[in-house]
Subunit: 373 residues, 2 copies
C-alpha cells in the first residue's frame, strides 16, 4: 500500500467510520479501522459488535488521491484520526514500510505506526439485503432525534432499548418508549411492503452522528429481520436488530382528548426548566393545574422549597390537576418542535399526549406521576 | 429584607461570589451565599476554608435597586444562582416571608426557598490589613495564567501547591514549581516594602475566574503573612497563605546559556502536540536534537510507533540531544506568549529555560527527562 490523499477527505471519512469503533474493545482488531486501497479508491471499515460502518473515498481529483500500490492496513482508530487530524500538510502520504508498520508523511512530520494484520479483521458482509425503502437524510435524522431519546436505557426489557420501525399500510411508524413515556414519528411511503424491526437506540445515535458530517442526501434502508442497513452513495451503516416482539403501543395512545391545553412551546420549556432544581429524591416533579380561569405550574420539595408560575395558554375542558416528570416533558416538548403545542389529556391519571400544532407526523406521550402533595 | 434589583447585576455578583463556595461543603452554611441588604446596597459573601469573597452591589439607578426593608438571607449557592439566572423578568423581587423562607418573584414565576439562618454564617473579617501594592487586573491575570499551572498538584510538599509572591528590591517575583518545571513572572514596583508569601494555586485560579467577569480595572493587594486580600472598588477576595518556607528557586535557574534555539512558538507547540498520542507508560516524551545543520524532534514508543519531524529554527552552540515531557513544554510555550521563543540550554541533563523574545518579564524552566533510547 502506497498512496497519497487529501487530508480533509481522509479525516472526514475516518471521523464517520470511527463512530462504529469502541476504542476499548476487548478485541484489539475492533479498536482499529481497516483501510483498503484498490484502483477505485479507499474503503474504510469500522465496527463493534452492534454496528459496522463502511465508507468509500473515490480515487478522484477532488480527493487528491494517487494510488501507487494497492493493499490494506489496520490501525487503532484513535491513532489514525489523531495523526491525520494534526499532520502538517493538505496531502498525506501513506505507505506500508514493513509488515504492518505504516508510514504517514505530511510536509515535515513523519510517523511510523505499528499496525495490526488486516487479515485478522473480521470479514463483515456489507452486501445489501432485500428491497430498500428510500428517504431523505434529513427525514431519517428527524426520526432519530424525535424518538430515540425516549428509548429505555436500562435493559430489563431489551427490546425497549431500541427504536421500533414498522412499515404497514404505506405508513412507516417509528416508536420508542421506556414505558414511562413514548415518542412516535410517522411517515407515508407509497410502497407495497411491510416489516417490523427494532434497531438499538445507541446505534441510531451513532448513525445520526456519523451522517451529520456527511454530504449524503438520500438514504436507502435495507432490512431482513436480522440486520438493517443504511446505504448512501459512498457509505453503508449496518446494525444488528434487537430480538423480541415490540409491544403493541398504539393501544396506549388515547384517541379522545376531552381536555386540551394549547401553549407556546418554548415558554413551557422555560417555565419547567426554571423549576428543575427543586427535587424530591433526585427527581423534579411538576404539578400542572388547568382550568378555564388559569393555568398554574408548581413544584415543591420539603427540603428546598417551592415554585409557582401562571402560564399563558388556552385550556378547554373540565379542570385538571396532573403531575409529571419535569425532564420527560422538557424532552418531549424539545423534540416535538413547532411554535405552539397541544397537551391533550384524557383523565387525571391517564397518559397525556403532546402534539405539534403544525406537524401531525410526530407525537409524544408522557405518563403522569402519582404524588401525595 | 424586602427589595428589588436588576437580575443581571445580582446574577453577575452571585457568579463572582460563588467561586469561593464549595457546593458540597460538609458545613451546610458554607454551601450558601449570605446576602445582606442595608441602605447602601447589597453585600454578598461566599467562602470555603481557603478563600472568601465579598462583593458589594451599590443601591443605585444602574442596578435598579430598591430596598424597602433591610435584612439578610443565607441560601444554598446553587439554588440562588439557578433561580436568578432563569427568572422571567429583568427585575427581581426578593422578600423574606417567614423566618428563613425567602420569596423570589419575577414576572409570573415565584419561588419560595428554604434558607438557612444568616446568624449561623461564620463571621469573616474582611478589614484590610497593612499597606497594599496596586496593580492592573490584567497584570494580575497574566501573573496567574503564566505561573499557577506549574504549581504542584500533589501535596507531598504543601508549599509547592502555591504561587510564591516575593517583593524585594522593588521587584515582585511570582514563582510556581512542581520541582519538574518552574514558571516565573516578574514585575517592577516603586515601593519600599518587602514580603514573601505563598498563595494556594487553587485560590489563584478562582481569583482569576471571579475577576474575569468583573468590570474592575485596578486591584490592591494586602497581606500580613497570614492572609492575602485582593481588593477592588466593590470586591474583596481573601485567601489563607500556605505555611512553610518557599524554596530558594533562583539558584535553579541557569544564568549562562551556551546553546540557544530560536523558534516560532506556535509551530513548536503544533509539532509537539502532533506526537502526544505516542506514550510510554502514559507519558509522552519528546527527544529534541539540535545542531547547526538540523533541528529534529522525535517521539518513540515500543507499542505505538514513532514520529520524526524537522523543525525550522535557528540554533547556536554545540549539538545537543535532550528529552522532555511533551506536556510540560507545551504548557510552558503556551503560557509564555509571543511569536518567537528562545529555548536556552546549559547542558545535556541540565534544566532548560524558555524565554519570550519580546518580553523578559516571564520565564519558563523545564527539567529534562532521562531516557534510554
Amino acid at each position: 500500500m502506497n498512496l497519497s490523499i487529501s487530508k480533509n477527505a481522509l479525516y472526514n471519512a475516518l471521523n464517520t467510520v470511527s463512530h462504529a469503533v469502541s476504542p476499548n474493545s476487548p478485541q484489539p482488531v475492533l479498536r482499529g479501522i481497516k483501510i483498503t486501497a484498490d484502483e477505485t479508491g479507499l474503503t474504510l471499515i469500522g465496527s463493534d459488535a452492534d454496528i459496522s460502518i463502511m465508507k468509500k473515498i473515490k480515487a478522484d481529483e477532488e480527493n487528491k488521491m494517487n494510488i501507487v500500490d494497492t493493499g490494506s492496513l489496520l490501525i487503532e482508530s484513535r491513532y489514525l484520526t489523531e495523526i491525520v487530524r494534526k499532520l502538517d500538510s493538505e496531502i498525506i502520504q501513506i505507505e506500508i514500510v514493513d509488515g504492518a508498520l505504516t508510514k504517514f508523511s505530511g510536509s515535515s512530520a513523519v510517523f511510523k505506526i505499528n499496525g495490526m494484520k488486516p487479515e485478522d479483521y473480521p470479514n463483515i458482509d456489507f452486501r445489501t439485503i432485500g428491497n430498500p425503502i428510500s428517504m431523505d437524510k434529513n427525514a431519517l435524522v428527524s426520526i432519530i432525534e424525535g424518538t430515540a431519546f425516549a428509548a429505555a436505557t436500562k435493559d430489563t426489557r431489551p427490546v425497549l432499548t431500541g427504536v421500533n420501525f414498522k412499515l404497514e399500510n404505506n405508513i412507516l411508524s417509528c416508536t420508542a418508549t421506556d414505558s414511562f413515556r413514548l415518542a412516535k414519528k410517522t411517515m407515508k411511503f407509497d410502497l407495497d411492503d411491510s416489516f417490523n424491526i427494532t434497531i438499538p437506540a445507541k446505534t441510531m445515535f451513532e448513525i445520526k452522528n456519523s451522517m451529520l458530517n456527511d454530504t449524503v442526501e438520500k438514504i436507502e434502508i435495507y432490512q431482513n429481520g436480522k440486520k438493517v442497513q443504511f446505504v448512501s452513495d459512498d457509505m453503508i451503516i449496518q446494525s444488528r436488530l434487537l430480538d423480541g416482539e415490540y409491544p403493541e403501543t398504539d393501544r396506549l395512545i388515547p384517541k379522545e382528548f376531552p381536555y386540551v391545553l394549547t401553549i407556546d412551546r418554548e415558554e413551557l420549556i422555560r417555565a419547567i426548566d426554571r423549576t428543575i432544581f427543586i427535587k424530591n429524591e433526585n427527581m423534579a416533579i411538576n404539578r400542572l393545574q388547568c382550568s378555564a380561569d388559569e393555568i398554574v405550574i408548581t413544584n415543591r420539595s420539603q427540603e428546598i422549597g417551592e415554585s409557582h408560575e401562571n402560564l399563558y395558554g388556552e385550556y378547554t375542558g373540565e379542570p385538571i390537576d396532573i403531575s409529571f416528570s419535569a425532564n420527560y416533558v422538557i424532552s418531549a416538548a424539545k423534540y416535538i418542535g413547532g411554535r405552539t403545542i397541544k397537551i391533550c389529556f384524557s383523565g387525571q391519571m391517564k397518559p397525556f399526549v403532546i402534539l405539534n400544532t403544525e406537524d401531525d407526523s410526530i407525537l409524544q406521550l408522557v405518563l403522569p406521576v402519582r404524588t401525595y402533595n
